[in-house]
Amino acid sequence: MNENNITLKAGLTIKDIALIGVMTATLEAGKYALSFIPNIEIVSLLIILYTIFFEKKVIYAIFCFIVLDGCIYGFGLWWIMYLYAWPLLSLLTSWLRKSGSAMTYSILSGMFGLCFGALCVLPYLFIGGIKTAFTWWIAGIPYDIIHCIGNFILCIVLFNPLYWVLGRIKREYYS
């Protein structure tokens, strides 16, 4: 019996665990690599691509990435926002998966960037009320617009090359 095909209790094979580790590492490395440019990130694009290729397994990677991020940068209020913002992107990608093209995902990525501040406002809504949440969201709008444009451009430029690379990796090592 091939050791790689041993299925663990959670329904994951050893290959799956290795894959989740690689996805988590690339998400974290991608975030770190672009962290010197405010609100330009490749995490959204990677989550979209990983969802397209590896479907539900990406959820494990997303939560590993979120926990790892908390360990590196501290478990602040922003960390709570990550708990639902990144899984939501994966969920929306799954929803578009059958009809998706580079442009579709670029629009999704751009919209996600634009609404990131609004999404992240929820904890402030519970802590400080509507006024605090609204003020917090308003203050971040210029950064959300940068996030939107950055996400759109990164996705439209890198989606097809990365799609090709991931397709090849999946065929050769993960099928």
């Binding site: 009809s99 442009m103 579709t104 629009i107 919209m111 634009l114 609404c115 609204f134 203050a139 959300d144």
Partner: protein, 140 residues
């Protein structure tokens, strides 16, 4: 059929792109309307300079400064020169008019707060919203 599906797909993409562009415009508009505007200063004060011929020049200032010296710093058309002393700046000239100090008689620049003789130097005089401060050229 495929051509039709492709057209519908393109139409959806176009709608998606337009929605994204409109959202960016809406967000920008919301930001421009609701973002906090920079204020010139929370305290509004008036400073009046009274020279040797009793001619008055007034300055309306908005400031966040705690003390008068900081509030007067950089006010257009108001030039204060002095020397640093134990109690702060000793005013020697205002707008070029030099105080002439002598052993028995002379002139100096006095500070008035709301018409009353001030007890502090520019550095120690607190700034309160709505107050009137005067720098008056006086003799002794």
């Amino acid at each position: 059929m495929n051509e039709e599906t492709k057209k519908q797909g393109n139409k959806k993409l176009l709608i998606g792109g337009i929605i994204m562009a409109l959202l960016i415009i809406c967000f920008a508009a919301v930001y421009l309307i609701f973002a906090p505007k920079p204020t010139e200063g929370a305290k509004a004060i008036t400073v009046t300079v009274v020279d040797d011929s009793k001619e008055e020049t007034s300055y309306s200032i908005n400031t966040d400064a705690e003390f008068l010296r900081e509030a007067l710093d950089g006010v257009e058309g108001l030039e204060i020169i002095g020397t640093e002393g134990d109690y702060g700046l000793y005013i020697e000239s205002v707008n070029g008019l030099l105080a002439q100090s002598g052993s028995e008689s002379g002139t100096y620049w006095a500070i008035y707060v709301n018409g009353e003789y001030g007890q502090y130097s520019l550095d120690a005089q607190p700034v309160t919203d709505g107050d009137n401060y005067s720098l008056v050229y006086e003799s002794y």
